[in-house]
Amino acid sequence: MTATSSSRTDAPLLTARDIVAGYQRDLPIVNGAGIELRAGEIAVVLGPNGAGKSTLVKAIAGLVPISSGSVVLGDADITHLPAHRKIAAGLAFVPQTENVFATMTIDDNLLLAAAVLPKAQRHARCQAMYEMFPDLARQKRLPAGRLSGGQRQMLAIARALMVGPRVLLLDEPSAGLSPKLVAGVFADLARIRDSGVGIVLVEQNARAALSIGDRAYVLVEGRNRHQGPAAGLADDPLVAALYLGHRPAAATTGVPA
């Protein structure tokens, strides 16, 4: 998992600029938002429901068509690569729901993602994942559908890490998990960040996300409303009032995502 651009840590690893994206061309959900990420950094993307957070990471991952703007990973423009080629380029994505293959064994879930690795490395890489997530190692021959919510999240993250990505995008990994499990997942993410991987974390659970984040973006209506260091943002009165759930009564009529 060595980050190849570690020699120039000040240059951005991932730059998504002026992204316009949506499922239908004339109905963009993301309307000019962008993020910048350095190696070994966690960027947290926050915002009210319907702000376009999920669509932004899906567009970067290649699952939602981008009608304008650019995504640059390292030195390569990967804006319009199909999703499976973005993995090979070093950009991995963990969707929010249905993020494991329930009918396939844990082993097969991991090996599936190893296709781009040389044959000899595939099992060794699986082994490395099992060392990182010992819970998975104990049940590797079980169908992933039998795992608990927290274990599924682990498997989804492990699958994304199989190819040794430079950037990991996660769409609300805390959704549906108990606070204790959320703490576990976020501790894992901090470990992964410390190994040099850049992480983009879309979250509703703003306080927990900001506590491990390095920088933060607040999206509103598909655009960046605020960006800056994650530290202290949770206590910023304006941001807290608008987007961290302490909204005044008048501002609570948001449309659900």
Binding site: A83, I87, A88, E98, N99, L112, A113
Partner: protein, 302 residues
């Protein structure tokens, strides 16, 4: 009661099972009931027949049957080439018809399109080859007793052996290889498969190729042990779907076991009630299994 119905049922069942593998794969990966599959069987068989005559013309008169079988080596060579050609036909059809329609994501449109394409392809065969039955060989085959009052011809034993080899090879491909994992992943969740690095379009192409090739193999077996007719594939279509659904959509062993159950059910019905009820037997079995287990015998769909 003679046990011959067992042998007949297993033979027909193996053929249905082989064809049903393609049905179950395209159904689970592309998400629609492909009625053209019957035409892959017919086209594949006629392609093999044409190639066999072509090889015969090229090498002259030396078309002596191999050992105890009614067919010579040209049929085997022609069969292999025809399997590739049928795979390519399936791919071509996807390219000009189904790929465009898939973008709209409406399964009923795909089913109707496949029905239309199937009628067009069938008429083309009938026009080219007439509806007269054709044969790979005019050699007579003597059925040999193999015990328990059951008799089989050498051809029939060869067909059973070849089916077994193809089924085992397919099962290993699906369960053990990287391509097999990718096929299972696309079948369960195409969007997630993309995110896991699977080239979904590539997997779809390979699925068409494999389904077409296996349909051709099933057709050649029917052609050798029975006869070749423009409606041979169409007549097999309903048993194929019964077998695939009975076994559980997406399961290769399920398709084969489903095929054997349908084949045995049909031949038992012929034995006990009469040949008129042959086709009905497959459906009664299908309905009975689905009432008890709606996902089919080996169905995995949650």
């Amino acid at each position: 009661m003679s046990l011959q119905f067992l042998a007949d049922g297993i033979l027909v069942g193996a053929m249905i099972g082989l064809g049903a593998i393609g049905v179950t794969l395209t159904y689970s990966i592309l998400g629609f009931a492909n009625f053209v599959h019957g035409e892959f069987i017919t086209w594949g068989t006629y392609a093999a027949l044409t190639l066999t005559s072509g090889i015969g013309l090229l090498v002259g008169q030396d078309m002596a049957p191999l050992g105890p079988f009614s067919i010579g080596w040209p049929v085997l060579v022609a069969g292999l080439i025809a399997m590739v050609l049928t795979g390519l036909l399936a791919l071509l059809l996807d390219l000009i018809v189904f790929r465009r329609l898939r973008r709209h994501g409406n399964a009923i449109i795909m089913v109707m399109a496949s029905f239309g394409a199937s009628m067009a392809l069938r008429s083309l065969v009938e026009f080219t080859f007439t509806s007269e039955p054709a044969y790979f060989s005019r050699e007579l085959q003597i059925a040999m007793p193999i015990g328990l009052g059951i008799r089989l011809t050498a051809d029939q034993m060869l067909m059973l052996g070849l089916t077994l080899v193809l089924v085992v090879a397919m099962q290993l491909l699906i369960s053990r290889t990287q391509l097999g994992r990718a096929m299972r992943a696309v079948s369960e969740n195409p969007a997630l498969a993309q995110v896991a690095g699977v080239d979904v379009a590539g997997v779809v192409r390979l699925t068409w190729m494999i389904g077409g090739a296996l349909a051709c193999a099933a057709g050649i077996m029917a052609g050798i042990t029975v006869q070749i007719r423009p409606f041979m594939g169409f007549d097999l279509l309903l048993p194929l779907f019964s077998a695939a659904i009975l076994g559980g959509i997406g399961s290769v062993p399920g398709a084969v076991i489903g095929g054997l159950i349908v084949g045995l059910g049909e031949s038992l019905a012929v034995q006990l009630i009469g040949a008129n009820y042959r086709a009905a037997a497959a459906f009664l079995l299908l309905i009975a299994v689905l009432l008890i287990k709606p996902t089919g015998l080996f169905g995995r769909r949650a």
